[in-house]
Structure formats: structure tokens, C-alpha cells
């Protein structure tokens, strides 16, 4: 078990190191430099700028500095916003996004799993059809469409929720639902099909044959196994919620990391893009690690692997 976790940790560190290298290479591969895109700067200004951002160092030294910086959560200054450090930007905007993301995550888990189970238990009855229709539509609607529709219908037309910002609990409704939408539909589908699969197995029949009450059969025997694929999906789901936040925060004008990221992309602010990408990659990697560990606890078969 300990060996398994250790192995996963090492692989994640390797991954992050590689991502760091790739982002560095890409930053170097951008045609021209960060300062050549705008007006032609005088030679001495350019040199001063390059000196300020240490771009006159040899490439290997820049690389070492970059890796060192990334390891200590320091991605250097923003190229476009004067005097703003990328890590400060992340530190300011991440809590906003994280709060929103957690609300969305909670919606997915609190609604997705129970309704998936209900749909499976009432197979081919009304609740099942209802959730199936919902889930089918949910995975066909992109986040940005769901977000704009919610904004248009409930924000502009009916005036029930604020159209921008994150000031009251009401303003969480729109963005968190549009963030959760896709994953919710996916978790519904996943829970339902996995629950159906488990319920068809022999050991459930055995449990029923022993005369266990239905409640115990479902919660004690079926659920634990049925949840394994759902738990595996939580890692990719965080990634989905993260990328979803790019558009949701743009649509609802929320000052979170996603909005900064999209802004940085539009301004071609390379250090911000690279730093934020690294940060996102790290979060995704950590979530996958957490899921792997949870998985090992849920599924005892993992323990006996090397």
C-alpha cells in the first residue's frame, strides 16, 4: 500500500517536471520574443527589459531558474501587467475559483450519485426515464452554452440571479450549475450503469437470498462496488470543472483564475499563461493522486498489487 502510494507520488513529480519543461520549451518557441510583438522598441530599452526579466542569461540558466522558481511557486512577473507577480495573481484569484469549483463539485456528488442510484433501482420506470433524458441532454450541452442560457433566462429575462460577480449566495447558483452540468450528467449515467451492473451480479442475489433487508443489500453490498468507477471519474472531473471555469468565469464576469487565464491568452501574456498552466496541471495531478489513494482504500484488490 505504502509502496503503491509512493510510486504514484514519484510519477506525479516526474509528470510535473516534464510539464514544466514543456511549458518552458514552448515559451522559448514563441516566434520573436515577448517584447517584439508591439512597437519597435529602441535597442537599449529592449536590452534593459531583457536584463530585467533575465532573458539575457544563457538558455540553460533560464531553464534552471524557471524550474527552481516553479518548484517554489514563483513563476516570475507578468509581461503585460507591470509589477504584478504571476504567483500573486494566482494566490488572489485561486480562492475565488476554488470556492466556486467546490460548490460545483458538491452539486455533482450530492445530486449525481443519489439520483443515479434511484434511476438504477427504478430501472425502466418514470424516475429512470427522467434522469436518462436529463443525463443524455446534459452531456451534449457544452459548458459555455449552458452558462449563457442560464445567464440569459434566469439573469436577464427573469432577473432571479445576478448577472455578474460573486457577492451573495444567489450569485453562486448560475455559475456553479453551469460548471456542474456536464459532470453531473456524466456521474448520473456512470452511477446508474455501474449500479445496474453490480445489482445483476451473483453476490447480490446471494445477499437477497440470505434474506437481508433491501436497504442493507443496496447500501452495504451493492453501493461500495458500484461507486468504484464513479470515484475514478472524480479526477478527470476536476479537470473538467477547471476548464469549465475558463468560460463560466468569462460569462458570469467572476474575478477567478479562469477569467485571468483567458485574459492572459487574449493578451498573449506568456508568463501568466505558463504559470497558470503549471498550476492547473499540478492541481489536476494532485487530484488524480488523491483519487488513486481513495481508490486503493475502496478496492482492496489494489493492495495486493506491487
Amino acid at each position: 500500500m505504502a509502496k503503491y502510494i509512493l510510486k504514484r507520488c514519484v510519477s506525479i513529480i516526474v509528470t510535473l517536471f516534464l510539464v514544466c519543461t514543456i511549458t518552458f520549451i514552448m515559451m522559448k518557441a514563441v516566434p520573436g520574443g515577448p517584447f517584439t510583438t508591439e512597437r519597435n522598441l529602441p535597442q537599449n530599452v529592449l536590452e534593459a527589459l531583457e536584463k530585467k526579466y533575465h532573458l539575457d542569461d544563457p538558455v540553460w540558466k533560464q531553464y534552471v531558474d524557471y524550474v527552481k522558481g516553479a518548484a517554489t511557486f514563483d513563476f516570475g512577473p507578468s509581461f503585460k501587467k507591470d509589477g504584478v507577480m504571476v504567483s500573486d495573481m494566482i494566490a488572489q484569484s485561486f480562492p475565488v475559483s476554488a470556492k466556486l469549483g467546490l460548490v460545483a463539485l458538491a452539486i455533482v456528488i450530492i445530486l449525481g450519485i443519489p439520483f443515479g442510484i434511484i434511476a438504477a433501482l427504478k430501472q425502466n420506470k418514470f424516475p429512470d426515464y427522467l434522469t436518462t433524458v436529463f443525463a443524455t441532454l446534459g452531456i451534449a450541452i457544452p459548458t459555455f452554452v449552458l452558462g449563457t442560457l442560464i445567464l440569459y433566462v434566469f439573469g436577464s429575462k427573469l432577473g432571479w440571479i445576478p448577472t455578474h460577480g460573486l457577492d451573495s449566495w444567489k450569485s453562486y447558483i448560475g455559475p456553479s450549475i453551469s460548471l456542474a452540468g456536464f459532470s453531473l450528467a456524466y456521474v448520473l449515467r456512470l452511477t446508474r450503469s455501474s449500479m445496474l451492473g453490480v445489482c445483476g451480479q451473483d453476490y447480490i442475489r446471494t445477499a437477497r437470498a440470505k434474506g437481508l433487508p433491501e436497504r442493507k443489500v443496496i447500501f452495504k453490498h451493492a453501493l461500495k462496488n458500484a461507486l468504484i468507477p464513479v470515484v475514478t471519474y472524480i479526477g478527470p472531473m476536476t479537470a473538467g470543472i477547471m476548464t469549465g471555469s475558463f468560460v463560466t468565469e468569462k460569462i458570469f464576469a467572476i474575478p477567478g483564475m479562469g477569467k485571468f487565464y483567458v485574459e492572459a491568452i487574449n493578451n498573449r501574456d506568456y508568463t501568466v499563461i505558463m504559470g497558470t498552466t503549471m498550476f492547473y496541471a499540478a492541481i489536476a495531478a494532485i487530484m488524480i493522486l488523491a483519487v488513486d489513494i481513495a481508490y486503493a482504500f475502496l478496492d482492496p484488490r489494489i493492495k495486493f498489487q506491487d
Binding site: 510519477s11 506525479i12 516526474v14 509528470t15 516534464l18 510539464v19 514543456i22 511549458t23 514552448m26 518557441a29 514563441v30 443524455t136 441532454l137 452531456i139 451534449a140 450541452i141 457544452p142 459548458t143 459555455f144 452554452v145 449563457t148 442560457l149 445567464l151 440569459y152 436577464s156 445489482c199 442475489r205 437477497r208 478527470p236 479537470a239 473538467g240 477547471m242 476548464t243 475558463f246 468560460v247 468569462k250 460569462i251 483567458v262 491568452i265 487574449n266 498573449r268 506568456y270 499563461i273 498552466t277 492547473y280 496541471a281 489536476a284 495531478a285 488524480i288
Partner: protein, 407 residues
């Protein structure tokens, strides 16, 4: 799985007699695997619906320009934001008048073809009144209601706000009847630069289907081979190849694509490279799993004993036998590629103007969402329908190809 057992008595049971010959008869014609798959697929209504949607989308992408006389790029700044359904006022047999949301007057012919924007003869800004001369008749447009409604809305009096007409139109002093006509020039309306929505949607359909094609191609060429080789060679090679896949898949694919797009600059070529270079990972995993399984079977051993080369075993034995997994993964991953492209275009990294994808169209519609929701709804509907189509197709194929379901 009901637990109710009914007590069965002898009366409930009837003996069925078979002659020896009858019981030996084969009652159903024997089907090959693929015939069986096709039969099961054809029985699945949703799968058929999905295929129909995809075929229609392809037809729309290929022949869509026949539906419109316009092209996707030319702008007409006098014809901006004109919806597909117009609230028009009849002036005479073959002239209709239409007032857009910025209180400009347009003339249409009797069938709903847009003629032109009429310039006002005289405008009284204080009274919020415009006077036009259309075919010798004096048309007066009073748009003072809009300000009243806006004030009522601000005060929170929604009832009043909704009851006030935004404008009134008088032709030679008479109020004409309002009738709804379809826009015959721009069948699906125009965007904020006066470009034909229908033509742009057709272009978007081409982009989305192109993306679907690229994703398919990358999965097939890179994913299947990569996974196949890893699974077939096994051992250390497999280990290294799969570690690479693990590393690639730890970071969300969208992030790679965003990075690549930032470095290479937006454009269709970049989208092809970016999507092509990441959309094979899932397929590689699935194929490897299948190949690991299949290569243990006797027919592979048999092929090897008669001296078949590794390449032959791979292409003639392993991959054809993994075909069902490949097809299902293929269709299941297409929607996510389409999503990624529209997402990139939405955040401004995809197709650049004047070319359009459904994502750019949706993104362009954001600004005027209140007044022109059709500009968002049309591309959104296209994305949803296409993705739904591929999902139905994928589900149907999965059910049809699963040998466990064979009856």
C-alpha cells in the same frame, strides 16, 4: 429480481412434445458476427436517430450553401442583427415594413425578402420620432415607448414595462396591422456585422466535422498503432510507452491544446495539429488492453508457429479483433473533440475571423444576447445536435458490438 415465489402446481405446467428431428432443427439462420451487429444496430431506434442526425449534418455542411444566396464572410453594415422571423407591418400588396431593435426602418417585398434600410427624412430627437418617405407614403416611427419601458423596468414595475409598446408606427396617419413573416433573404438572420447566419453555420458545420475527422484520424493512425505496439511487444517497451501515456493523460488535454494554440497562433492549421497531437491517448490505452488480451489466444500462437511476421500478426490478427473496442472509443471521443474545438473558439483561440466555427458564433453572440438570442441559440443547437448524434451512435454501436449481448 423479484423475491415473490408462486406456488406452481401440476395444472400450471403443460408438457411439450418434440420429435427427435424437430429438436435438432436449426430454427434461425446462422449469422456472422458483423451481420448480427448490423441487425442489433438497426433495431436500436436511438442509434438510427443518431446516424440520421450525423448524415443530415454532413449534408448540411456539404450542400448548405445551396440554401442561401449569401456567403459567410461579406459584411453588410446596414443589415446587422436582423432576426430570422420578422414582425413586419404591411403597407401594400408588395411592401412590408420592419423596424429593428435600434429603430431603423427596413422595407421588405411582399414575400419577406429584405429590400433595404430606409434613411429617415427627418428625425425629431426630443419627441423620439422619425419620419420616412416610403414609395410616396409618409411613415412616422415613434420610439418613445422604449424609454418609458426602460424606466419602468428600472423602477421594478415589470407589469408596466411589459405593457408599454417600444415603438408605434403610422403609415399616412393609420396604424398598420402587424404580421410575422419569415426572413427570406437571410433565412436564419444576420450577425452583428450583417453576415448571413446560415452561411456561417454551414461553415461552422464544416469546421466541426473536420475536427471530428481529425480526431478520428489521429486516434486511428497514432492511437491504434501506439496501443497495438505497446500491447503486442509487452515487457519493458510496453512499460515505457504506457508511462508516457500516463504522463500525458495526467494533465488535462485541454491544457495541452491551449498551450499549443498559444504558441502556434490561432487558425485551422493549428487546431488540426493541436487536436491531432493529443487525441490518441485514450485510444492507445483501450487498444493496448484489448491486444494484451487477444495475444494470449491460440490463433495468435498458431499464426506465429506458421511463421507470420509481427507486422502481419498485428495488422491481420490483433487489430481486426480489437475492432469493436476501436469503433466504440472512436465514436465516443468525437464529441469531446468537437467540444474542445468550440470551447477554444469560444475563448478566442480557435478559428479566426472571418472564418467561423460554432464556438466563435456563440462567443460573438454574447454581447447582444439580450436582444438577439437567436444568434446564440442557432450555433448552440447545432453543437448539441451533433454531439447528441455522435453520443447516440456511440451508445448504439457499443450495445451492438458487445458480444455478451448476442442472443
Amino acid at each position: 429480481m423479484e423475491n415473490t415465489a408462486k406456488h406452481i402446481t401440476r395444472k400450471d405446467v403443460e408438457r411439450v412434445y418434440f420429435t427427435n428431428k424437430e429438436s435438432q432443427d436449426i430454427t434461425r439462420p446462422s449469422l456472422t458476427y458483423w451481420q448480427d451487429v448490423r441487425r442489433r444496430f438497426m433495431k436500436n431506434k436511438l442509434a438510427i436517430l443518431g446516424s440520421v442526425i450525423i448524415v443530415l449534418m454532413v449534408l448540411f455542411a456539404v450542400f448548405g450553401y445551396a440554401l442561401t444566396t449569401q456567403n459567410y464572410y461579406s459584411q453588410d453594415l446596414t443589415m446587422t442583427n436582423i432576426p430570422p422571423r420578422l414582425e413586419a407591418y404591411r403597407m401594400d400588396e408588395d411592401t412590408l415594413l420592419y423596424v429593428n431593435s435600434e429603430y431603423s426602418l427596413y422595407t421588405l417585398d411582399g414575400s419577406g425578402k429584405l429590400k433595404e434600410r430606409v434613411e429617415a427624412e427627418d428625425e425629431n430627437k426630443m419627441m423620439r420620432e422619425k419620419v420616412y418617405d416610403v414609395g410616396g407614403k409618409k411613415v412616422v416611427l415613434n420610439y418613445s415607448g422604449a424609454a418609458k419601458a426602460a424606466k419602468a423596468r428600472k423602477d421594478g414595475d415589470m407589469k408596466l414595462a411589459n405593457s408599454v409598446e417600444n415603438f408605434t408606427l403610422k403609415i399616412d396617419g393609420k396604424t398598420p396591422e402587424m404580421e410575422k413573416v419569415w426572413n427570406k433573404t437571410y433565412r436564419l438572420g444576420t450577425d452583428y456585422l450583417g453576415r448571413d447566419m446560415l452561411a456561417r453555420l454551414v461553415y461552422g458545420a464544416r469546421i466541426s466535422l473536420l475536427v471530428a475527422l481529425i480526431a478520428t484520424f489521429a486516434q486511428f493512425c497514432i492511437g491504434v498503432l501506439y496501443g497495438g505496439i505497446a500491447g503486442y511487444l509487452g515487457g519493458r517497451v510496453d512499460n515505457i510507452m504506457m508511462r508516457i501515456v500516463d504522463i500525458v493523460s495526467t494533465v488535462p488535454l485541454t491544457l495541452y491544446v491551449v498551450l499549443l494554440m498559444v504558441v502556434m497562433g490561432p487558425g485551422i492549421k493549428t487546431i488540426i495539429i493541436a487536436l491531432g497531437s493529443v487525441y490518441w491517448v485514450d485510444m492507445a490505452r483501450q487498444v493496448r488492453g484489448q491486444v494484451l488480451n487477444i495475444k494470449q489466444q491460440e490463433f495468435v500462437l498458431a499464426a506465429r508457429t506458421i511463421g507470420a511476421s509481427g507486422k502481419r500478426i498485428m495488422l491481420k490478427h490483433l487489430i481486426p479483433n480489437a475492432m469493436s473496442t476501436i469503433i466504440v472509443t472512436l465514436t465516443m471521443n468525437i464529441p469531446s473533440a468537437i467540444f474542445t474545438e468550440s470551447f477554444l473558439s469560444f475563448i478566442g483561440l480557435g478559428i479566426s475571423a472571418p472564418a467561423a466555427s460554432w464556438g466563435t458564433l456563440a462567443s460573438d453572440a454574447l454581447g447582444g444576447l439580450r436582444s438577439y438570442p437567436y444568434q446564440l441559440l442557432l450555433p448552440s443547437l447545432c453543437i448539441c445536435l451533433t454531439v447528441l448524434g455522435f453520443n447516440f451512435l456511440g451508445d448504439g454501436l457499443r450495445d451492438a458490438l458487445d458480444p455478451k449481448l448476442r442472443k
